[in-house]
C-alpha cells in the first residue's frame, strides 16, 4: 500500500496532453463576468465549458413580488445595453394580456427609441469587438456617437442607461421640446459616421484576415443551438421578428434584413454594420411619419392620469390613488411576447392569475441561448480565436444570468 502511494502511476503520455485553464471571470474580453473553462492541447482548444451565473440576481423571482407597473424598472437591468427593448417587450406582453390598444404616436416613438437603442448597443459591440481584435481607434469613435444617443435618452427619460421610459399603456411623458430636432440632427450625420467606422475596418486587410473564416458555425448548428438575431442571420437563416411577427407598428416601416451565408466572425460583423444603416433608415421614417395624438392608451384603470387632471378631477384622483396603492388587475392568461433585440429574440413570458402581481415573468434572453454556440465555434481552433468569437456573438452577461 505504502509503495503504491509513494509511486504515482505513470500516465500514458497521449492521455496527458491536455490542460485545463480558466478564462475569466475577470477577463477584459469576456465583456462581463463570464468564466470559460478551456481544455487545451497546446494552443488548440479541445473543449470549452462556459460557467455562468455570476450575475444571477433572481429578477424573475423579484418580479413575482411586485405590481405589474413596478416590474418595468426591473427589465432595464436585464440587458443593460438595450433597456428600451426590454421595456418594450415587457409592456407589450402585459398590454397583450390586457387587450390594450396603444395610440399610434406612442407606437412610433417606441419604434424610434428602439432603433436608437439598437444603434447604441451595436456601437458598444463594434467598439469593444474592434478593440478586442486590436483596432483601438474605433472604440473611441463609437463611444463618441454613443454618447450622443445616451444624451438623447437622458433628455427623454431623465436617465442615460436605465431608462424605464415605456409604461404599460404608452409612454411616461411626452418627449421634451426640441427632442425630435436633436434626433434628426444626430440621424443626419450618422451615416457619415458609419462610413468612418467602415473606412477603418471593412477594407482593412489586417482586420479581414483576423476575422475571415474564424468562429464558423453552420446554419443547422446555429438553429439547433437556439441562436437568434445577427448570429443566426450571419449563418444564412432569414429571420427578423420586426418583419416576420411585427409588433408595435413595425409593419409600417420599410427596411432590409441583412443575411449572409458564411457564418463566421466576419459575416457577423458585416450583418451588424448593415443593421446600423437599416436602423438609421427606420429612425428617419419614424421622424417623418410621426403621427399626432395621445401618448397613452384610453384605459383609466391601467394608465396613470395626466398630472393636471389628477389635481382637478375627483375621478382621476381616485384612479391615480388606486393604481399607485393597489396596482391594477390583469385578466387571467398567459402571453409570450417576442421582440427583436439587438442580440436576437427577446421573449417575455408573462402568466397572470387575475391579481395585481404577475404570477410568473420569464425572460427568454437572446444572450443565454447565443452563448451555447461558442463551444461549437471555437473547438478545434486556437485560443486567440475565442476572443474574436466571444466578441462576435455580442453577449451581455446581465442578459445571460438575469
Amino acid at each position: 500500500m505504502a509503495e503504491m502511494l509513494a509511486r504515482p502511476p505513470v500516465l500514458d503520455s497521449t492521455e496527458d496532453r491536455t490542460m485545463l485553464i480558466n478564462m475569466g471571470p475577470q477577463h477584459p474580453s469576456t465583456h462581463g463576468v463570464l468564466r470559460l473553462m478551456l481544455e487545451i492541447d497546446g494552443e488548440t482548444i479541445v473543449r470549452i465549458m462556459p460557467d455562468i451565473g455570476y450575475l444571477h440576481t433572481g429578477i424573475e423571482k423579484t418580479c413575482e413580488a411586485k405590481f405589474y407597473q413596478q416590474v418595468v424598472p426591473m427589465t432595464d437591468r436585464i440587458d443593460y445595453l438595450c433597456p428600451m427593448t426590454n421595456n418594450l417587450a415587457y409592456c407589450l406582453a402585459v398590454e397583450k394580456l390586457l387587450g390594450l390598444e396603444i395610440p399610434p404616436r406612442a407606437q412610433w416613438i417606441r419604434v424610434m427609441l428602439n432603433e436608437l437603442t439598437r444603434i447604441n448597443s451595436h456601437l458598444v459591440w463594434l467598439g469593444s469587438h474592434a478593440m478586442d481584435i486590436g483596432a483601438m481607434t474605433v472604440f473611441l469613435y463609437c463611444f463618441r456617437e454613443r454618447e450622443d444617443i445616451l444624451r438623447l435618452f437622458e433628455a427623454v427619460s431623465g436617465q442615460r442607461m436605465m431608462t424605464s421610459y415605456f409604461r404599460i399603456g404608452g409612454l411616461a411623458l411626452e418627449p421634451p421640446l426640441g427632442f425630435f430636432d436633436r434626433v434628426k440632427k444626430f440621424n443626419d450625420r450618422f451615416p457619415a459616421d458609419i462610413d468612418e467606422y467602415e473606412g477603418l475596418l471593412t477594407g482593412n486587410p489586417i482586420f479581414i484576415n483576423r476575422l475571415k473564416g474564424v468562429g464558423q458555425i453552420s446554419a443547422e448548428d446555429a438553429l439547433a443551438l437556439g441562436a437568434t438575431g445577427p448570429t443566426l442571420r450571419a449563418s444564412g437563416i432569414d429571420v427578423d421578428l420586426r418583419r416576420d411577427n411585427p409588433y408595435s407598428g413595425y409593419e409600417n416601416f420599410k427596411f432590409n434584413v441583412p443575411v449572409l451565408k458564411d457564418g463566421d466572425v466576419w459575416a457577423r460583423y458585416l450583418v451588424r454594420v448593415q443593421e446600423l444603416r437599416e436602423s438609421q433608415k427606420i429612425v428617419v421614417q419614424a421622424l417623418e411619419g410621426l403621427p399626432e395624438g395621445r401618448i397613452k392608451a384610453e384605459a383609466p384603470k391601467v394608465v396613470l392620469p395626466d398630472r393636471e387632471k389628477m389635481k382637478t378631477e375627483m375621478e382621476a384622483l381616485i384612479y391615480h390613488f388606486k393604481i399607485v396603492t393597489e396596482g391594477f388587475t390583469v385578466p387571467e392568461g398567459e402571453v409570450y411576447m417576442p421582440v427583436e433585440s439587438p442580440r436576437g429574440e427577446m421573449g417575455y413570458y408573462v402568466v397572470s392569475d387575475g391579481t395585481a402581481k404577475p404570477y410568473r415573468v420569464h425572460m427568454r434572453s437572446p444572450s443565454f441561448a447565443n452563448l451555447q454556440t461558442l463551444p461549437k465555434m471555437c473547438e478545434g481552433r486556437l485560443i486567440a480565436d475565442v476572443v474574436a468569437a466571444i466578441g462576435s456573438i455580442d453577449i451581455v452577461l446581465g442578459d445571460v444570468d438575469r
Binding site: 438553429l223 439547433a224 437568434t228 398567459e334 413570458y349 427568454r364
Partner: protein, 164 residues
C-alpha cells in the same frame, strides 16, 4: 379592444394543423388545447413530449427552433408544475406552445437535447430553479445558483426574501 374568450374545446380546435398532427400521432396523447390571445397551447402527456416535438419538427409545419423552455409552479395545486416549451418555425414564422404537467412528487420529463442541442442550457436552468429532472440530459447540474445550493429558488414555497 378586449380579446374574445379563450377556446378550450378540442372539437373546435382539432382542424388547426398542429393539433391535427398531434392527434393523428399514436405515441402522443393530447390532454387539452387552448387558443387564447392569438396563441395556441397544447398540453401533452409527458411520455409523449419528445415524440410531439419530433412530429412538429419533422412535419411540413417545420417547427425547427426551440425558442424557450421554462416552468410555472402552481403550488399548492396539483399537478404542481407545468413545463412550458415555445416552438418557432423559421419558414412559416409561426409559434406554438407545448406544455407538460408534472406532479410535485415525480418531477421528471424527457430531455429535448437529442432534438435540439440548444435545450441544454434551458433545461439546466429549469432544473436549477425549479428542480425538474430531465431524463437523458447530458450534463444536468446547476447553472445559475452556486454548486451545493439547497432548494430551488423559483418554486412558490421558496421565500422571496429573508433567511431560508
Amino acid at each position: 379592444m378586449p380579446w374574445p374568450p379563450a377556446i378550450t374545446d378540442i372539437e373546435q380546435l382539432k382542424d388547426r394543423p398542429e393539433v391535427a398532427l398531434l392527434l393523428a400521432s399514436d405515441t402522443v396523447a393530447v390532454e387539452a388545447v387552448k387558443f387564447d390571445r392569438d396563441e395556441l397551447t397544447i398540453w401533452v402527456e409527458r411520455t409523449g413530449l419528445r415524440d410531439a416535438c419530433r412530429v412538429l419538427k419533422g412535419s411540413e409545419l417545420r417547427y425547427d427552433a426551440l425558442m424557450d423552455v421554462t416552468c410555472v409552479d402552481w403550488y399548492p395545486n396539483d399537478p404542481r408544475f407545468e413545463v412550458v416549451y415555445h416552438l418557432f418555425s423559421t419558414t412559416t414564422k409561426k409559434r406554438v406552445r407545448l406544455k407538460v404537467k408534472l406532479a410535485g412528487f415525480d418531477t421528471s420529463v424527457d430531455s429535448l437535447v437529442p432534438l435540439w442541442a440548444g435545450a441544454n442550457f434551458f433545461e439546466r436552468e429549469v432544473f436549477d430553479l425549479f428542480g425538474i429532472r430531465f431524463d437523458g440530459h447530458p450534463n444536468l447540474k446547476r447553472i445559475m445558483m452556486p454548486e451545493g445550493w439547497e432548494g430551488h429558488p423559483l418554486r412558490k414555497d421558496y421565500p422571496v426574501e429573508g433567511y431560508r
